[in-house]
């Protein structure tokens, strides 16, 4: 295909991506180094019959004019990144000096919004991913032994947790584990504590959000592994059987090595997707116990006071996080490409 033809074919999609993905990234970068203008104050001296009084008021007209002249705000460099809502270097140093043990330091760190969100985001990402891969693998192995007709039915129900809107899925689970819901009642009965409530406990909240994460993503791993099992070379299994391999050894030394490229694929995709965990925090109404980077951005953007600069700074840091998680994927794609040509 000629360059010219390629250009015209690619133009619409390329334009859409440049305007609505590349440009916003640049715009977020720029916004993150500007802060909104402070109001302009004027001091007026009012002289009346009883002497003169100095009054400081906001000069609405001047403030408005300044905001219109420079809609981005004033340039503050990296200040927003370093403030209390983000990297909080000053508070971190304070915590380091005041706490006597490493544990105490980390406890104080967790109270800072950015580090608290980071702690949950990373825990969620790195706990969910291996567990959902394991669960998906076991489901795939089990479903593979079923008869053809049952397989379709099982796949249908297995797809539901993944296909359903994340916010809706998390609400459905949350209503069940609510202290008045069926699972919540059951758990309270099991624990012998009628006042047991997930909403009141940070560890329980983290666990239930992680369970939601596994529940909603395991089907993806299952479907991918199940497709991989269909291409399993039958002669290798037979050779292993002739060599006297037990069923477990066949799985361990034939099936899993065959699925390994798919495991890597699912792991890389899920690490990136779990890093943006957001909807379950809204659905579980969990922001008092667990926040994520995406949730902080959402929270800054919403409401009456749209804190664009703060949201932009968190966005940039999220993008850096995603880039770190993405780098192995890029290296892999690059290697594949080099291998092909």
């Amino acid at each position: 295909m000629k360059h010219r033809t390629f250009f015209w074919f690619f133009l619409p999609t390329g334009l859409a991506m440049v305007l609505f993905i590349a440009a916003p990234i640049v715009s977020v970068l720029i916004q993150s180094v500007f802060a909104p203008h402070e109001a302009v104050f004027v001091t007026v001296e009012n002289c009346g019959p009883f002497g003169c009084v100095q009054e400081t008021t906001i000069d609405q007209a001047a403030t408005q004019e300044l905001r219109e002249a420079q809609p981005l705000g004033r340039f503050v460099g990296l200040d927003i990144y370093l403030d209390r809502g983000h990297l909080a270097l000053a508070e971190m140093g304070e915590a380091w000096r005041s706490s006597d043990s490493l544990g105490g330091f980390f406890a104080e760190l967790r109270d800072l919004p950015f580090y608290g969100a980071m702690a949950f985001t990373l825990t969620y990402t790195f706990v969910c991913t291996p567990l959902l891969i394991a669960l998906g693998l076991v489901i795939a192995l089990a479903v593979n032994t079923l008869t053809q007709r049952l397989k379709g039915l099982v796949i249908f129900f297995s797809l539901l947790p993944m296909i359903v809107t994340p916010l809706v899925g998390s609400l459905i689970l949350f209503w069940m584990i609510d202290s008045r819901g069926v699972l919540g009642t059951f758990l309270a009965y099991l624990a012998g504590d009628p006042d047991l409530s997930l909403k009141a406990s940070t560890p329980l909240m983290w666990i239930s959000i992680i369970i939601y994460g596994i529940w909603s993503s395991a089907p993806f791993a299952f479907v991918v592994f199940y497709a991989g099992l269909q291409t399993l070379p039958q002669d290798q299994i037979e050779a292993a059987q002739i060599d006297g391999a037990t069923r477990w050894q066949q799985v361990r030394f034939v099936v899993i090595p065959h699925l390994m490229p798919l495991v890597t694929f699912v792991a890389l995709i899920q690490l990136m997707d779990n890093f943006r965990v957001f909807e379950p925090i809204v659905g579980f109404n969990a922001s008092a116990h667990a926040t994520s980077l995406s949730w902080i951005i959402f929270n800054d953007l919403g409401g009456e006071t749209r804190q664009l600069s703060a949201a932009a700074a968190t966005s940039v840091m999220t993008i850096i996080g995603v880039a770190i998680l993405l780098s192995p994927v890029l290296v892999r794609t690059w290697r594949d490409f080099r291998g092909k040509t």
Partner: protein
């Protein structure tokens, strides 16, 4: 095909089947439970006294005279006018799928037919864009959209969702088009067609399986999106998902949780039907990228 020697022992078969039953309950029970509960009153669905009330509907019978009530649906659809949000969702989904398939097919086709090095880099850039969480882009949209006065309306959201959809659409269609033999359109070009005519008359008639699968995923992305729609749509233009989130804020205080439950069930129903009819395409779409890569 399985010989007698390959048949698993009874204990293993029981364990496998038992595990599948447990997984099916985990996967399906929450949906059934919520569906059943959506026809009850709040005191039954969230029962403090006795959890079996949710099954029998004791309080529902006291209030409404029957064990099932449509009060939640009536509250959501009539009183809170949820149907407006349903219509908005379907407008958004329809145009997102239409636009993103149109421009995505052109782009994906070009990527699959051009052998130059920049194709690889374009695909890599698309992969990077695919990894960006949409919420990180939203901060970048706000200021220009306010400035140009296009914030809050459906067309803006549609275009944004189309753009966010493109990287994934391109990757998927690129791999589908690569499976269509190049000789098809090459021979049409030898016969004197331009590249576009070759695409129009030779490729378009055979591309539908791939396009339908990709379209399904575009639909799901638009339908399931919460971050973009909740930030970019004004209150009167909300789609279903942000409206459900808004219900939560107001209904927990007003004691109308059942409205939200009914809305959640209403929003799940189309997806249920979708999986029922397009299960094969969804499975093939999920595995298309994986098995090859």
């Amino acid at each position: 095909m399985a010989s007698e020697a390959q048949r698993p022992p009874l204990s293993l078969r029981l364990a496998t089947n038992g595990f599948i039953v447990v997984w099916l309950i985990l996967a399906a029970f929450p949906f059934l439970w919520t569906f059943w509960g959506s026809f009850k009153v709040e005191l039954d669905f969230f029962s403090i006294a006795d959890w079996t009330n949710a099954l029998t509907g004791t309080n529902t019978r006291e209030t409404h005279g029957s064990a099932f009530t449509l009060a939640g649906y009536e509250g959501a659809w009539v009183q809170e006018e949820f149907w407006r949000n349903v219509i908005n969702t379907f407008i958004v989904c329809f145009f997102v799928v239409l636009t993103s398939l149109t421009i995505g097919t052109l782009g994906g086709y070009a990527l699959s037919r051009s052998g130059f090095k920049y194709v690889f880099w374009l695909l890599i850039i698309a992969l990077i864009f695919r990894a960006m969480p949409p919420i990180t882009l939203v901060a970048g949209y706000m200021l220009p959209f306010f400035e140009w006065n296009i914030w809050g309306i459906l067309p803006t959201t549609i275009i944004v969702l189309v753009a966010i959809n493109q990287p994934f659409t391109l990757w998927m269609l690129h791999s589908f088009f690569q499976n269509i033999p190049k000789e098809l359109d090459e021979s049409a070009k030898v016969d004197g067609c331009t590249q576009f005519q070759a695409f129009r008359h030779v490729i378009v008639p055979v591309m539908w399986p791939g396009v339908i699968t990709t379209g399904l995923f575009s639909f799901l992305l638009a339908y399931n999106d919460f971050a973009v729609t909740s930030m970019l749509l004004s209150e009167s233009n909300r789609t279903m998902v942000p409206e459900i989130a808004a219900f939560l804020g107001t209904t927990y205080t007003e004691g109308n949780v059942m409205f939200a439950v009914a809305a959640v069930v209403s929003a799940t129903a189309p997806l249920f039907v979708l999986v029922m009819f397009f299960q094969r395409q969804i499975v093939s779409g999920l595995t298309a990228g994986a098995v090859k890569g």
